[in-house]
Structure formats: C-alpha cells, structure tokens
C-alpha cells in the first residue's frame, strides 16, 4: 500500500515540487511550513524505516533523528535538491547503520507484522488470517531481497517516490535504480505469485 499523499496514480514529481516549496519556506523560518512538511512526510518516513528495520520503536527514533537533522540543516546549509529525497536518504542511512550494528533484521512483533490487517474488522476470522498470512509472506519475501533491491522496492512501490528521487536517495543513477527494481520485482514475483495457491 503506497503511503505518499498524492494517491496511487498521481505523478510523484508534483508532490516533490510542493514539498520543496514548503521546505524553502521552512528554511526561511516559517514554522507553519515546517509543520506542513511534518504532516506530509512523518508518516511515510516512519513507514519506510519500520519496513526496512522490521521494528517500530527504532523506526520512531530514526524518524525523529531525520527531522532533527533537517532542522539543523536549515541552520547550517539547507538541503540541496528535493527535500523528500534528502529526508529519505537520511533515514535510509540511519536504518542501514542500525541494521549493520545489529547484524540482521529483527522480526516484527506479532501485531506489527500484521500491520493494519491485524486491526481490520474483516467479515470472518478466516479471511483475517488469510490476509495476515499474505502480508506476512510479502514481508518475508521483501526482507529476503538483497539490501539495495529491498530499499528500491520500498521507496518506489510503497513510498511512492519517483525513480529520480529514489535514485538520489540511494545515491545511484536512474538506470541502476531501474535495474534494482526489475530484479527485485522478478524475485518477488517468483517468491509470491508462484506460490499463490498456498496463501
């Protein structure tokens, strides 16, 4: 489920331009603009960190630290380029540091693993379980991907970043990003769709 604020079919570039305008106003000292940035970016950023880390408490820390660094950057040298990519890159690097420190991805607690499906009131308990099993399978398949492929899929599919922003976040070219996405999605297709009958 994509978490950007533009809706599934809106081009990500438009939203990026709006966020950059808010960022410029925030850098000029407008607290309201900064709060608007928070409204639009805090939840997606937390979602990205939670998915990448597989853990929610650390995702909170990463989200907080990312915005704190944005504040400090406004004082020293405001971000060049798209602010959304800057924030995701900061959060991504913080997540990677934490993952390397712990050496592996920790499993999500049961409720978080279910995500919102765990809270949905579906018509039947069986349907809930099936939905949760599918979510768990997707999560497992994505976490089995190599780190860069996983990040590319999370940024583009779930966070709704444009290819250019995702490439900037990962500090690679757009062609390299496309290659990561294609390989990642092929692997996911093999892992998920080929065993659809089991889910």
């Amino acid at each position: 489920m994509r978490e950007d604020q533009t809706g599934q079919d809106a081009p990500p570039d438009d939203e990026s331009a709006r966020l950059d305008a808010l960022s410029r106003a925030a850098a000029a000292g407008e607290a309201a603009a900064y709060r608007a940035l928070l409204d639009r970016l805090a939840r997606p950023l937390h979602g990205y960190a939670a998915r990448l880390l597989g853990e929610t408490a650390e995702a909170e820390d990463v989200t907080q630290e990312s915005f704190a660094r944005l504040w400090r950057a406004y004082d020293l040298s405001p971000p060049r380029g798209p602010v959304r990519a800057w924030l995701y890159r900061t959060a991504h690097n913080l997540c990677i540091d934490r993952l390397r420190r712990r050496g592996r991805t920790m499993p999500l607690p049961a409720d978080d693993a279910l995500g919102r499906h765990g809270l949905d009131e579906s018509p039947s308990g069986e349907e809930r379980l099936q939905s949760a099993a599918r979510a768990q399978a997707v999560r497992g398949a994505i976490h089995a991907l190599p780190e860069r492929q996983k990040a590319a899929i999370l940024l583009v599919h779930y966070q709704g970043l444009s290819g250019r922003e995702a490439a900037r976040t990962l500090d690679i070219g757009e062609d390299a990003l496309e290659s990561l996405l294609a390989r990642g999605r092929r692997a996911l297709k093999a892992a998920l769709l080929d065993r659809r009958g089991d889910l």
């Binding site: 599934q8 909170e60 919102r116 599919h157 999605r185 769709l193």
Partner: protein, 185 residues
C-alpha cells in the same frame, strides 16, 4: 533493451516511439501505473498503449498482479504520540530567525545608509568631544568629581576630604601626572 526500444528525443525533437520491450521493462520495474513511470517516458508509453492496446493491457495486467500482492503488506501504524513530539521541535532555527530579522523590504541602501550615518556620528563624537578619560591625571570639568584648576590634581569628595586622582589611579610613582597638569595650564 535495444536503442530503438528506449524512448529518445533528439536535438531536433524527433521522438523515436517506444517499443514493446521498453514498455515491458518499465512495467516490470515500476509497476502497472504509467503515472508513476519516469516522466520522460510516460507520453511515449501512453502512445504505445494507444497503438497496441492488447499487448499493453497484457503487460500492465502482469505488473498489476504483483502490485496488488505487494499492497497486502501494510506499514505499521505510526504511534499517535510521535507526530506531536516531532511538531514540538517545529520552530525556526537560529539562523533562520536571524535571516528574518535582517530581512529589509526596501532597497538595501536604506539600512546600509543608516548604519553608515550612525558610524560617522560615533566617529565625530569620539574625535571632537573632550577626552573623558583621566589620562595623565586629568578629569573632565563636567564630571561630578571634577578637579578644580586650583586644586592641582586634588579632587574633593562629598565629605570634603581631598582625593588625589593621579595618586588613586596610578599610585605614588606616577611621574607624568604633574607634567600633564602643567602642560594643560
């Protein structure tokens, strides 16, 4: 992917149409929503879909199946108290406040001229006014502890007792005190 498959816009604006292979590669990488493909390739992709609707629909349907599957994994909800915590830090930074303070809506010569005028006034007063400092034992006549000319460097305090300013400031070994006083008289 062949060169002809990739959308190209030459210097003259000639656009090579998108082929099925490039369309398939984009669907495979970015998913079924053309609106989310790279901006430069959306137009040619829509042209291809119009030209070959059946093939485009098949390729997009394949990608959409995986998209739907991926959408099953929802992100954990953000804790309710995180947003207020983040907003609590939402205040302009020091540098930003300084920039706003220094913002001047009119021409830059106005604040610059005011600064220069204040500087000139300060310099003028500093050079033209009598020396207020008790250099050489002299104290300005306007000061409450002014030394009367006839007191020879002895000021009178409120109790009427004399205070030798030079002695007070420089101690008994201040050799120039008397010289300066003489020079002024």
């Amino acid at each position: 992917m062949t060169e002809g498959d990739r959308t190209m816009t030459g210097n003259g604006g000639d656009r090579v149409g998108m082929g099925a292979a490039r369309f398939a590669a984009l669907a495979e990488a970015y998913g079924a929503s053309i609106a989310r493909w790279p901006a430069a390739e959306r137009g040619p992709a829509r042209d291809f879909r119009a030209a070959a609707p059946a093939e485009a629909a098949r390729l997009l349907a394949e990608a959409a199946t995986l998209d739907r599957m991926l959408d099953e994994w929802a992100a954990p909800d953000m804790p309710a108290n995180l947003a207020p915590r983040l907003a609590g830090h939402a205040r302009p930074g020091t540098a930003a406040r300084l920039r706003r303070l220094l913002q001047w809506p009119g021409p830059i010569w106005q604040p610059a001229g005011a600064f220069a005028a204040a500087l000139m006034l300060g310099l003028g007063l500093g050079v033209g006014a009598p020396d207020m400092a008790p250099l050489g034992g002299l104290v300005s006549a306007e000061t409450p502890t002014a030394t009367p000319p006839e007191s020879n460097g002895i000021a009178m305090d409120e109790t009427g007792e004399g205070v030798d300013i030079a002695l007070f400031l420089y101690g008994p070994a201040a050799p120039d005190a008397g010289v300066s006083q003489e020079g002024m008289q």
